[in-house]
């Protein structure tokens, strides 16, 4: 088969000594950049881009892709051990990763994250290898109505979750959408919701700032309040045998999340303007919805870790696809990689696969190699991360606080963000006190900025006729499913009220 021989050649390029070295350094550096709150793959790739002038373009992009990969693995680490999302792509990992760690199962959570990342990356690599040019065409068929329909589906999975209080979920989503609307409007260019006339609001709320506030500070306050500092996070022993046992557990308990995340993450990743963060949140939502015990999610379900982690690695490979074949970045990090390619004198676009076959297949080969090494490096460092967790929470809490503040400042180097973090942290704490789910608001803030412009673009296309979402061949079925999902729990909610006479 032609593809296999091309892939074989690509692998040979990837395992040249220089490239192997770059991959090892790249995934290790990426792992730590990803684990550091505030620094994500975007920062890592941007900071290290200049270094790549020292090596040939093929090796340069392999190095940057390895950092990208490593960071996707690393993001989970601080999400699980400290409850601070290491990167915006790992926010969904805190939903269940943190509760697992608090139950003393930090090792299981870390292993699950690493293994799921590996599986997600591998599945995406196989899709990428076999179908790259075909999928690029599919991505082009996703216009504004299709993308909006997909966003609607994502919201539907969060509303449609059994167990949660639905009015509160809807309220939480609405709150998130309002926050997402802060800043300049993309369509008209007008400023919106610039609260108190403060310029800091003009650029909108940086998602990472919100996530660090809600999960870093908010979680910390919550844990202190509920346990009075009496919690010791991990009693897990560290041994190779333990890690192997946990790998087994990961497959037994988390296979569902892993499968959904691997596939869904990839498809969300290849869509322009989406990327790994929406991919991981949507996979979490879908996995929870399809689970037999949705109530266990948020309490420490292994699938709640494997779904977002498989998805963010899968999506990061997926996001490479529109970048290489169409010249459109599928995520912020690939936007920087795209800039790198222009600098190296390569034109991304439909002809890249033909004209720069060595470059493309070398890169694809390196995905496989990077993925493998990232798994090994990650597993090797797990004992170190668990050791960190052995500190009593009275020591960990100040550490979390400092890391949150520093991480929030590092993202944009703006003090305004630091004040927002504190505000969001306190706000999230009280929301939890009053039993409002926070995750739907977080989802809305990620997806709102994608959903709103696509909704308005679609309505401009159709001159205001909403049937555009039902009549297009791809958008139609998606919208239909989304609406059913939204209505199902609403019906469930209404019926018992009618059936049961007032007591």
């Amino acid at each position: 088969m032609e593809i296999l021989s091309l892939l074989g050649d690509g692998m040979l390029i990837a395992i040249q000594p220089l490239n192997i070295l770059l991959i090892l350094v790249g995934v290790t550096v990426g792992l730590f950049i990803g684990a550091m709150p505030g620094l994500g793959s975007v920062n890592g790739v941007a900071i290290l881009l200049p270094i790549t002038f020292l090596v040939p373009p093929g090796s340069a992009i392999i190095f940057l892709a390895a950092i990208y990969y490593g960071a996707m693995y690393g993001g989970a680490i601080s999400s699980i051990t400290l409850g601070i999302p290491g990167a915006s792509t790992a926010v969904a990992t805190t939903f269940d990763g943190r509760p697992l760690a608090l139950k003393g199962k930090a090792r299981l959570a870390l292993v699950a994250a690493a293994v799921a990342s590996f599986i997600g990356g591998s599945v995406a690599n196989i899709f990428f290898t076999l179908f790259a040019p075909l999928l690029a065409t599919v991505a082009l068929n996703f216009g504004p109505p299709e993308i909006f329909a997909l966003m609607l589906l994502a919201f539907a999975t969060f509303v449609g979750l059994g167990g949660d209080d639905i009015p509160k979920t809807v309220l939480s989503i609405c709150f998130g959408l309002v926050v997402a609307a802060i800043g300049f409007d993309q369509i008209s260019g007008a400023p919106r919701l610039v609260l108190f006339g403060m310029n800091g609001f003009l650029g909108g709320i940086n998602f990472l700032v919100l996530a660090i506030g809600v999960y870093g500070i908010g979680e910390m306050l919550w844990t202190l309040d509920t346990t009075r500092g009496e919690v010791t996070s991990s009693k897990a022993d560290i041994s190779a045998k333990g890690i192997i046992t946990d790998t087994g557990e990961t497959f037994r308990l988390g296979w569902k999340g892993m499968s959904i995340g691997s596939v869904l993450g990839f498809f969300v990743g290849i869509l322009p303007a989406a990327g790994a963060t929406p991919g991981s949140l949507m996979s979490y939502g879908v996995t929870k919805m399809l689970s037999k015990n949705p109530k266990e999610f948020g309490q420490g379900h292994v699938s709640g870790v494997t779904a977002p982690e498989a998805a963010n690695n899968s999506a990061s490979t997926g996001a490479m696809l529109p970048m290489l074949t169409l010249g459109i970045p599928g995520s912020p990090t690939t936007a920087i990689l795209l800039g790198g390619m222009v600098i190296w004198g390569l034109t991304p676009g439909p002809r890249l696969f033909i004209e720069q076959s060595d470059f493309v297949w070398g890169l694809i080969g390196s995905f496989y190699v990077s993925n493998f090494f990232a798994l090994v490096v990650n597993l090797a460092f797990i004992p170190l991360f668990i050791w960190m967790l052995r500190m009593p929470f009275t020591v960990l809490a100040p550490l979390i606080f400092v890391l949150s503040i520093v991480g929030g400042y590092a993202a944009m180097a703006d003090m305004f963000d630091v004040w927002l973090i504190v505000l969001f942290g306190i706000g999230a704490f009280f929301l939890r006190k009053f039993d409002y789910p926070v995750a739907p608001a977080v989802l809305a803030i990620v997806l709102g900025p994608i959903a709103e412009p696509t909704l308005r673009q679609s309505l401009l296309l159709s001159s205001g006729d909403p049937t555009i979402f039902f009549t297009r061949p791809i958008a139609g079925p998606i919208t239909f499913v989304a609406i059913i999902l939204i209505l199902l729990p609403a019906l469930k909610y209404l019926r018992p009220a009618k059936a049961r006479p007032a007591e």
């Binding site: 082009l140 216009g143 409007d185 650029g203 169409l326 790198g340 676009g349 002809r351």
Partner: protein, 323 residues
């Protein structure tokens, strides 16, 4: 509409002289921390590609002791970036890569309180022409045929570009007015997204810059019908100009670097010298050619004169198209 053609060339002539007489650079000032390299557009579009290319030239040739750190602030048709510069806490380390929304956004949104004449001129790196693109499957081969198609669609023809009031929408609005046409305009987030929307036939026509449309042009997915430059472009032989269609209109996107208001003279001199080196580098000259940009070097005084002229031009254009 008598636009800037003659003035363009006049300024370009003057610039040749300015370029040869190397300005005396105040020695001594150098950046002491990373330089905030603000980009007036989202990632992936023309302005972003240029900013990252400039950054790479500086890094590769080790031209500055501190790195340029690209910072995308594309919100509100560039308003976000303008406010960021206006309020810069350290104006000596804050510079901006601009496009024409540098002129149009302050006119359209006077509430922002931006006076671009307070900004510090640094370098005009070149100007980027526009072309009209359609998909190859549209069956449209000529500009005349396009005009007929748009008219025949009775307002249902779908065009797309960057944010409302930005360059792309100005070019479309002018063309619609000039040929008495009516079409829909869908705003997207950056030139890359616009190019993809046309390739996927989500929209029917764009006015992308050559660099933005290049990938799909090379693969044959999209086809230029008209260029908005003064003369035919070497990259697209045989494609007529707007001027040849009887309308004295040409429109270019400025690719310039400006400094924050309140930048010290020493710092301004440093950046002017730095970007002159970038401009003269073989990499940048090669980029101008490969991306079909027109070179248009100007010294700081000429840049300020150019800003004033462009403010007038854009006021008139925006008034004409009723925006």
């Amino acid at each position: 509409m008598k636009v800037t053609k003659r003035t363009f060339l006049g300024l370009a002539g003057a610039s040749a002289i300015a370029l040869s007489a190397a300005p005396a650079v105040a020695q001594g000032w150098e950046p002491t921390r990373p330089i905030d390299f603000v980009i007036m557009a989202g990632p992936g579009g023309g302005a972003d590609q240029i900013a990252r290319f400039i950054q790479s030239v500086v890094e590769k040739n080790d031209m500055a002791p501190r790195p340029l750190v690209p910072n995308n602030k594309g919100g509100g048709s560039g308003a976000e970036a303008l406010i960021w510069l206006n309020n810069a806490s350290d104006p000596d380390h804050t510079i901006l890569v601009t496009l024409n929304s540098f002129f149009s956004t302050p006119i359209r949104q006077p509430d922002l309180g931006i006076d671009i004449m307070t900004f510090t001129p640094i370098a005009m790196m070149g100007v980027d022409p526009f072309a009209l693109w359609v998909h190859k499957d549209s069956g449209i081969e000529s500009f005349e045929q396009w005009v007929e198609t748009v008219k025949g669609a009775n307002g249902d023809y779908v065009t797309g570009g960057t944010g409302t009031g930005q360059e792309d929408s100005i070019v479309f609005a002018y063309t619609n007015n000039a040929f008495d046409m009516n079409s829909k305009y869908i705003p997207f987030d950056g030139g890359g997204a616009v190019a993809a929307a046309l390739a996927g036939q989500q929209i029917q026509a764009t006015v992308n810059n050559p660099a933005e449309a290049r990938g799909f042009f090379q693969s044959g997915d999209v086809r230029p019908l008209l260029v908005f430059s003064d003369e035919e472009m070497p990259a697209y032989p045989g494609i007529p100009t707007m001027k040849s269609k009887g309308h004295d209109f040409s429109y270019y996107n400025q690719r310039a670097v400006v400094g924050a208001p309140g930048m010290s003279d020493e710092a301004a001199a440093y950046y002017q010298d730095l970007f002159k080196k970038v401009y003269e580098s073989p990499e940048w000259q090669g980029y101008l050619e490969s991306e079909s940009l027109s070179p248009l070097w100007m010294n700081p005084e000429e840049q300020k004169a150019y800003w004033e002229l462009q403010m007038d031009v854009h006021k008139q254009l925006l008034a004409e198209i009723g925006n």
